[in-house]
């Protein structure tokens, strides 16, 4: 891999506030292939700042691919071209000299734009608050080894629990559906014996909350799982549908 700087043309969505009209603005910059994508934007922002221009606002925090705060649709794909990689872990070596890169925010009715590339994802928190938990207050839990769970079952639950709540699935979906996000939580908890008690109510309440927040319906495109940086399996949606149907048929009483 060459260490030479690459010349990059960026087309970045700029929008002053939630109620303003946005537009794509073009910037020319240079980047080292070992830089992360966000470091490339840091350098550009530093330039904009010294030129007296308004720097580009974007969400980010841990820069380790785990907090779920970074977003950005890069060349049409949430989190960019590399599979199983968040924007913050994407490096410029995934691009080449002379590339043009389009950077846009998540676009979904349930995720209103705050500024530039930042969106409001608090809808996800409200969906979790509607039932994405096991109701055990602190204290009184039995010895951890009193609950035996097979390794395979536990590993499968983990695959769903790995969701970082970034919202890339919603951004990828033509319907802006949150089925993968909700399905991941429902699948995680329904695979555990601890999660059985509230299983039905959880599925019904979380689906209702998801609809209230304005997320779209699932029409089986599968874009969500393809875009997911944590590779949450599409089966999450199948499990959610099954749990929801099961709860509806037998009533919400657990």
């Amino acid at each position: 891999m060459s260490d030479d700087n690459m010349r990059i043309t960026l087309h970045v969505w700029r929008q002053k506030g939630p109620n303003d009209r946005g537009t794509l603005k073009t910037y020319k910059t240079e980047a080292n292939p070992h830089m992360s994508f966000l470091e490339m934007l840091d350098v550009l922002n530093e330039q904009l700042l010294t030129q007296g221009e308004d720097p580009i606002a974007f969400d980010h925090d841990c820069r380790e691919g785990i907090c779920g705060m970074c977003s950005m649709v890069i060349n049409g794909r949430p989190h960019g071209p590399r599979s199983a990689t968040t924007t913050c872990q994407l490096h410029m070596r995934s691009f080449k000299d002379g590339d043009e890169i389009y950077i846009e925010p998540w676009q979904a009715k349930a995720f209103p734009i705050i500024k530039d590339l930042m969106v409001d994802r608090t809808a996800f928190d409200r969906v979790i608050a509607s039932g994405g938990y096991i109701s055990v207050g602190t204290g009184g839990a039995p010895d951890a080894n009193a609950i035996q769970i097979g390794k395979k079952q536990s590993d499968e639950a983990f695959d769903y629990a790995a969701c970082i709540g970034c919202g890339g699935c919603v951004a990828a979906c033509p319907n802006a559906s949150a089925m993968l996000f909700v399905g991941a939580k429902v699948a995680h908890l329904s695979k555990f014996p601890q999660g059985q008690v509230e299983r039905k109510g959880r599925a019904l309440n979380m689906v209702a909350a998801m609809d209230t927040e304005g997320f779209g319906a699932c029409t089986n495109h599968g874009e969500c799982a393809a875009a997911c940086p944590k590779e949450i399996p599409l089966e999450a949606i199948m499990i959610l549908n099954r749990e929801y149907a099961r709860a509806q048929i037998s009533g919400s009483e657990d």
Partner: protein
């Protein structure tokens, strides 16, 4: 300054039980009359907010991220310790306690650490009941692995994402209480000041980061769980926005800051790759279960690819120097050994300083699939960042700032010297001494939040009898005005340098250089001269765009860096005053002939607690002398 630690009397194993009985209770009907502010939503903050709400208190919880789930506890990889002794390998509450005090190089309070060890087991039970997907054996029971500084396997884990899974557990408990309207959550809201009324902590002043609005919130008590200050070094494994502001503003309101120089340098991080570097990424300590650390024996081999360096020409220096613990020595010891190897001119191929962490032996022994199962996500992360495949070539690693053991001083009840201000998790100083053992941060955060504060805050609320206060009180108006003026001042400088320019200079050129892995008198004195000079330049040359009445990421950052520029001075002052080496604090003047940290128990077996005495005035030193009744003070020996 009142530094009564309020350690209960009696044998150490009975103190917590006795204390819980002695603490005053608030009856269930009265709990709803009390309001508690919790600042921060990481492991300590989220677990405290959820548990206090379950008990019936009304909670206002604050975080500066867009969701409480983003707090940086989420990035902890390796695991959480507990004295369950499931593997039947000789562990006990007493051994976890002993290992933790020893690992901290005998600079922590015995009674707190013992309680932490006792509670550790309840944490695992609580988290398993919440549905945290801990790693399991084929028989369905929980799995354990080893971590540095221990000869037993007591670490519970969830692949390499233990912090994430534990935090999501606490977050789900918190969201349940938010859904039940027993917690009011304030996201994208940053604490800018603590408000005292009648000498008691009665509220905070915040800035709504979306609108810029400065607001006051009053309460009957304040719980601070705002994490550590590692970002004073600019490059660290902390999240980009982690900062010292909340804790520092409490210090300026009279809370003692204890042992600020005790910072943890984690031995296994991905090395710096260039000037544009914005943060460093940790590779979990758990990798040292199977990875072997080495550099070439001969400087002349440093330019060679690792595959061209034969086994006989490699120096597995940790195994050589510390045969009993090998690659699993505590973090401070492993970091210093890496520095020593690099300083001896044996940094490995690839530009920036680094040593190898090699999995070849483990892959040959256990097979690639087994290693992938244990560390797959960590290997993938390494590959994404470095572009190299660690299954085929050793990882390049180097120490980086990771955790801060220092923090606001607290008593046994986790209350600071300011009545009503309680401090949990990394933000306090109490449990890890001069060096934290791996997998103990998650344990402490959750112990404080789930199992300590719910008891101790009741005692405060039942006895403080401070009456009601609202935000019309002049103390709130004064704090709001001060916060607003500071922001205005930052915006009005109108210079031509960015915040990052100053942050990088402070962190990389001053703090890392002079108050990093090794410190000496001359360097610290130089740093104490450089920091005020840099601070002065900051206030003349900084450029912050935009206004304070809108979303302004650059203003947020400038405000945090302004506090780091003051706080760095306290760290260096503390490091200079501590004329000994202990854990992560390595004073070059104080070392054994073998180059190990040399403590001075006679003169420095105390917590150094600094009191604010005014801007541009030296802080005053107070001491909490540690008494060791159960652990025998000894030179740490991991050989």
């Amino acid at each position: 300054m009142d530094l009564n630690a309020r350690i209960p009397s009696g044998p150490i194993s009975e103190k917590w039980d006795k204390h819980r009985f002695d603490l005053k209770l608030v009856n269930p009907a009265n709990k709803r009359k009390f309001k508690v502010i919790v600042v921060g939503s990481g492991l300590a903050g989220a677990s405290a907010a959820a548990t206090l709400a379950e008990l019936g208190y009304h909670i206002d919880c604050f975080c500066f991220q867009d969701s409480p789930r983003r707090a940086h506890s989420i990035a902890a990889q390796g695991g959480i310790n507990a004295a369950k002794n499931y593997p039947n390998d000789g562990d006990s509450v007493y051994r976890l306690f002993y290992d933790t005090v020893k690992g901290g190089d005998y600079r922590a309070r015995e009674a707190n650490v013992y309680r932490l060890s006792q509670i550790s087991n309840q944490i695992i039970d609580q988290c398993a009941a919440q549905g945290v997907p801990f790693a399991r054996e084929y028989g369905g029971l929980l799995a354990n692995r080893s971590f540095g500084g221990a000869q037993v396997s007591r670490t519970f884990y969830a692949r390499g994402q233990t912090g994430q899974q534990l935090l999501l557990g606490a977050y789900s408990a918190l969201e349940r209480m938010i859904g039940a309207k027993r917690v009011t959550m304030h996201t994208r809201t940053e604490m800018l000041d603590l408000v005292l009324v009648n000498g008691h902590a009665r509220g905070i002043v915040t800035r709504n980061l979306l609108t810029g609005k400065i607001e006051s919130h009053s309460a009957d008590a304040v719980v601070l769980a705002t994490g550590g200050y590692g970002n004073v070094f600019y490059l660290s494994t902390n999240a980009m926005a982690s900062n010292v502001t909340a804790a520092y503003r409490c210090y300026k309101r009279g809370a003692g800051f204890a042992n600020p120089c005790f910072t943890q340098i984690h031995p296994t991080c991905i090395p710096v790759s260039g000037d544009y570097q914005s943060k460093l990424t940790l590779m979990s300590e758990s990798l040292r279960n199977d990875g072997r650390v080495w550099v070439p024996k001969d400087k002349a081999d440093c330019g060679k690819a690792p595959k061209d360096i034969p086994e006989s020409a490699r120096d597995y220096y940790l195994e050589r120097k510390y045969p009993a613990f090998g690659n699993l020595v505590p973090r401070d010891v492993a970091s210093r050994a890496a520095k020593e190897a690099v300083d001896s001119g044996r940094s490995v191929l690839g530009g920036s300083p680094a040593v190898y962490l090699d999995f070849q032996t483990a892959i040959e022994r256990d097979g690639k699939a087994a290693i992938e199962d244990r560390y797959g996500n960590l290997f993938d992360m390494y590959e994404r960042i470095s572009g190299e495949n660690p299954y085929g070539t050793p990882m390049r690693i180097y120490p980086a700032v990771h955790y801060t053991m220092g923090g606001l001083w607290v008593d046994y009840n986790l209350m600071s010297n300011v009545p009503g201000l309680h401090v949990l998790g990394e933000a306090n100083f109490s449990d890890h001494g001069a060096n934290r053992l791996g997998a103990s941060a998650l344990m402490q955060g959750l112990a404080d939040g789930y199992f300590v504060i719910p008891y101790t805050i009741g005692n405060y609320l039942a006895t403080a009898k401070q009456g009601s206060v609202n935000t019309d009180h002049p103390a709130f108006k004064e704090a709001e005005k001060a916060a607003e003026e500071k922001l205005k001042r930052l915006l009005s400088v109108g210079g031509d340098k960015s915040v990052d320019y100053f942050h990088r200079k402070l962190g990389v050129e001053i703090m890392w250089e002079h108050c990093g892995m090794a410190r000496n008198k001359q360097g610290l004195e130089k740093a104490l001269q450089m920091i005020p000079e840099l601070r002065e330049r900051f206030w003349k040359e900084i450029r912050v765009p935009g206004s304070s009445s809108e979303l302004n990421l650059w203003l947020e950052k400038a405000n945090r860096v302004a506090d780091f520029l003051e706080f760095g001075e306290i760290m260096c002052t503390d490091a200079l005053a501590r004329e000994e080496s202990a854990g992560g604090h390595f004073r070059e003047e104080h070392q054994t002939p073998g180059g190990e940290a040399k403590r001075d128990d006679e003169n420095f077996a105390y917590g150094a607690v600094w009191e604010y005495k005014g801007d541009n005035t030296a802080p005053a030193l107070h001491k909490e002398h540690y008494t060791f009744e159960y652990v025998k003070l000894a030179t740490r020996n991991y050989a």
